[in-house]
């Protein structure tokens, strides 16, 4: 069983799967300087960007000095009106567009830089900047003219909320940062920029409160992010797989969210969030098991109701995980446990079914999973029909045909409803998956099997860590102070301290805002 450990403990050394297949063009351009001759520069450029029809090279003559120049940018990645109005117009028409001292030309663009290396020029063009080559200068000017097709801010799709903000993250990293910063206009909100991927060079930002978050977690997160060796990161989900503690666990160890408001609330608690450019979901670490059961709505509804809903979620978790397994064990091992009336009706409905209980349960559960999956892929209007087909036709007729017992249908249906209550999608899917081994072990060993299954699950949860934080906290290690916001949510003004499991350095939140007594 030695290999067991090898399997479950991920080795955190730089990824060996992606061996050093360095980018061919970067090899050519690394460390090469620009030429001062415009024509040779443009030739070199043409050579670098072969088969790039969207590369626009606009040759021009600067108004006063008459210097030959060329403006280079990628069509579609840039904002055309900025280029036309704020770069071309000043350069070609206005007298003071450039001076001879070689400083940055007078254009009406906010972010202007200089680059003398080919690699800089290349990245800038690929990122959507506009590059100005001028004859006789061994350097180029880089204008920030990024502008690509974007969607407008919409309601988050997966994590809908009743009372939370109706703004979801977008595909543009900088905008996402803006969405976050709007909630915390504070100097201590620090953003660390990293870039991941040899080809994609995806920009990644770690956002945290410098005086609250634990530096050790930051160091851990940073080292994990920087040790990723990959072509490109397209989605936050990919990134998560590279940095999570135990990739073989079914449980999500890092929260993925598309809600700026919940991201901010997590940052305020002392966690770290990572924004990935190009992905509308933001990663939050360290996460605990309990944090997947908290939703932003909990904090905007009345605390009694929020607590009730929290408890409901944990109940739903138990039902979704165990109900089919318990049903199987009760009808094939431990029927003594059922009261006689119930037992008689269960037995009566079972007599018609030709399959063993496990097969019966699997049949229904898999049908359910397929319906759920097809519901996601289908366009919304068609998705409704799946519900009707699944609910009425399969459920009703399967019972009538004697393929499943009607109690099984009830069990599966309640399981499905229960698993929808889990606010976090990743935790919900983990649950869907875990149900199957539970059913199998219940079928083999009855109620003992379920207990052993739970024991394995708890053992796994206890061993799991997220960025060095115990995953099962605040249950194991038990933290009484964190219980205020675990199974129940006490009134907000009672939650004075930040949760311990974030390892926040500054544990006290803002002071006691509760008015005492009968004061106006």
């Amino acid at each position: 069983m030695f290999f067991y450990r090898k399997f479950f403990r991920k080795k955190r050394k730089p990824n060996t799967r992606q061996t050093k297949q360095a980018n061919p063009s970067s090899k050519q351009t690394d460390g090469q300087n620009l030429n001062s001759d415009l024509t040779s520069n443009l030739e070199k450029l043409q050579m670098l960007f072969q088969l790039t029809p969207d590369l626009i090279v606009r040759r021009l003559r600067i108004h006063v000095t008459g210097v030959e120049a060329a403006l280079v940018y990628l069509d579609g990645m840039t904002d055309k009106s900025t280029i036309n109005n704020n770069i071309l117009t000043p350069l070609m028409r206005e007298a003071h567009a450039s001076n001879d001292k070689g400083d940055i030309p007078f254009t009406n663009v906010g972010n202007v830089g200089k680059g003398s290396l080919w690699s800089q020029v290349e990245t800038a063009i690929l990122k959507g900047d506009t590059v100005l080559f001028a004859d006789g200068r061994p350097e180029a000017f880089l204008f920030d003219t990024k502008g690509w097709p974007q969607r407008t801010i919409e309601d988050p799709q997966i994590e809908t909320s009743l009372k939370g903000a109706h703004q979801g993250f977008l595909e543009t990293g900088t905008q996402n940062i803006a969405l976050i910063r709007r909630y915390i206009p504070n100097r201590e909100l620090k953003i660390k920029e990293l870039s991941i991927g040899k080809r994609g060079a995806t920009k990644v930002w770690i956002i945290y409160l410098a005086d609250v978050a634990h530096p050790q977690v930051l160091a851990e997160l940073e080292s994990r992010l920087s040790s990723i060796d990959v072509d490109s990161i397209i989605n936050t989900g990919e990134l998560v797989e590279y940095i999570e503690d135990n990739p073989y666990s079914p449980f999500p160890q890092i929260i993925l969210t598309e809600r700026p408001d919940s991201t901010v609330s997590q940052i305020l608690q002392g966690r770290f969030s990572v924004v990935v450019d190009g992905s509308p979901s933001v990663l939050i670490a360290p996460a605990t098991f309990i944090s997947f059961f908290q939703s932003i709505d909990d904090y905007s509804t009345r605390w009694l109701i929020a607590s009730f809903i929290r408890l409901l979620r944990f109940l739903a978790f138990a039902i979704a995980l165990l109900l089919p397994a318990i049903y199987i064990s009760f009808i094939s091992f431990n029927y003594e446990v059922l009261p006689i009336q119930l037992l008689l009706s269960v037995a009566e409905s079972r007599t018609l079914v030709p399959f063993p209980p496990l097969l019966e349960a699997m049949l229904m559960e898999i049908t359910l999973e397929m319906m759920r999956e097809s519901g996601i892929r289908l366009p919304a209007p068609v998705g409704q029909t799946v519900g009707i087909v699944g609910g009425i036709i399969i459920g009703q007729t399967a019972v009538q045909a004697g393929i499943v017992s009607n109690i099984m249908v009830i069990v599966v249906a309640s399981t499905a409803i229960a698993s929808f209550i889990i606010p976090n999608y990743d935790m919900g899917t983990a649950l869907r998956l875990l149900r199957f081994p539970m059913m199998v072990i219940a079928f083999m060993f009855g109620i003992v099997g379920i207990v052993i299954g739970m024991m394995i699950l708890i053992a796994h949860l206890v061993c799991l860590e997220s960025m060095g934080t115990p995953y099962a906290s605040p249950l194991a290690p038990f933290r009484w102070a964190d219980m205020k916001d675990t199974f129940v949510r006490l009134p907000i003004w009672k939650l004075v301290n930040r949760p311990k499991n974030t390892r926040a350095v500054q544990s006290r939140r803002a002071g006691d805002n509760r008015r005492n007594g009968d004061m106006q």
């Binding site: 290999f3 003594e336 037995a347 007599t351």
Partner: protein, 371 residues
């Protein structure tokens, strides 16, 4: 990775190859809901069961079976030869014992598998059947639910009005083994339909001693420390007797908040039990004219006398049979341990010589809606 796969296959193989035998799907089980033990005319042991049938094609709701064997466990084997599926004792609702069986010592040992096998339940109610057990097991009333459920419900609700005791298999075990008390079980008869006769009291060795009718059973239940349910009484008040055709000297009431205090003394080589019964009563029926407002004390006094007289009768009856179904022996052990130790193995006899005094204290709480 290779090793992991090996591990996986090993695990699955190990699990799948070897286990299967404990699984028994619910549809493959015949639940014996009633167990009957009786003696036939030639004194052969007769075991019978009643179990539900689930098939839609079957006309009857139950299948009943009767076999002649020596032990309970062997009877299961016999049942398995003819019932639809495998017999299981885990859901027994009631155990019926024939009166003929209870004429002999040692029948209790027959119940051994009910205690020994962990799959079996210890909560079925035990009842003595005045008559043949098979008559009851064969009985399938048209206007009632399944017989086992009907029977269990009947005995349970009868206990709620204190018509009979509620002795489960578990309790019977305790009563049989406890030296300081003798068993008491429900008494059941079938003439036409099922009828609960009251409580059958057994001797220390399990033989049948006597039956208490529902009225006596209420008094008996009052003495019992674990009492529950309702205690409706009807007593005759002698001072109100009149000559009318309908006897108008009756008074009915429901007793609540009953408490008993038992004192044990040892005097002149005999135990002496002083039992103080306190109860509060609510009148529910009064056939004679009486000013309860003013003369409550008088009424209380008379009720007390009536009840005390009934208690004396009950205790005389019990002592004559040399049994102790109430468990006075427990008090004797707790309070007079030395004396108890000497007589613990023949407690029935010692108790029959004991001096038992019951004092009743009644308080009228309400007279109802009318004067």
């Amino acid at each position: 990775m290779k090793q992991w796969k090996l591990c996986c296959t090993m695990l699955i193989l190990a699990a799948f190859l070897t286990n299967c035998s404990d699984r028994l799907n619910v549809e493959d089980v015949t639940f014996s809901l009633l167990i009957g033990i009786d003696l036939d005319e030639e004194d052969n042991l007769l075991f019978s069961i009643s179990s539900p049938v689930f098939s839609k094609e079957a006309k009857k709701k139950e299948e009943d079976l009767e076999v002649r064997t020596n032990t309970t466990r062997k009877s299961r084997e016999e049942f398995d030869r003819s019932v639809v599926a495998l017999t299981m004792g885990g859901k027994v609702q009631a155990v019926l014992l024939g009166k003929r069986l209870l004429q002999h010592k040692g029948w209790f040992q027959l119940l051994d598998p009910l205690y020994r096998d962990n799959k079996n339940t210890v909560l079925p109610i035990v009842a003595l059947v005045n008559g043949k057990v098979s008559d009851i097991i064969r009985y399938s009333p048209q206007d009632k639910p399944r017989l086992p459920i009907y029977l269990a419900e009947l005995l349970r609700t009868a206990h709620m009005r204190n018509i009979t005791v509620n002795t489960t298999i578990q309790l019977l075990h305790r009563q049989m083994f406890e030296k300081g008390m003798t068993p008491s079980i429900s008494d059941l008869r079938k003439d036409g339909n099922l009828k609960v006769m009251g409580t059958a009291l057994l001797k220390e060795d399990g033989r049948y001693a006597l039956t208490l009718d529902p009225v006596e059973n209420k008094l008996f239940s009052i003495l019992n420390p674990r009492r529950g349910g309702e205690f409706p009484f009807t007593v005759t008040i002698p001072s109100q007797s009149d000559e009318s055709f309908f006897k108008h000297d009756k008074l009915s009431f429901t007793a609540t908040d009953i408490s008993t205090k038992t004192k044990v003394n040892y005097e002149q080589n005999n135990f002496r039990f002083d039992i103080n019964v306190k109860m509060r009563i609510n009148l529910s029926e009064r056939l004679f004219a009486f000013n309860v407002e003013k003369e409550a004390k008088k009424l209380e006094k008379e009720i007390e006398q009536q009840l005390e007289a009934q208690f004396v009768q009950l205790i005389d009856k019990i002592q004559a049979a040399k049994i102790d179904p109430v468990g006075f022996g427990l008090y004797a052990r707790a309070k007079q341990y030395r004396q108890w130790k000497g007589v613990q193995d023949r407690w029935g006899e010692a108790f029959s010589k004991a001096d038992v005094n019951v004092k009743v204290k009644v308080r009228v709480m309400s007279m109802g809606a009318t004067k």
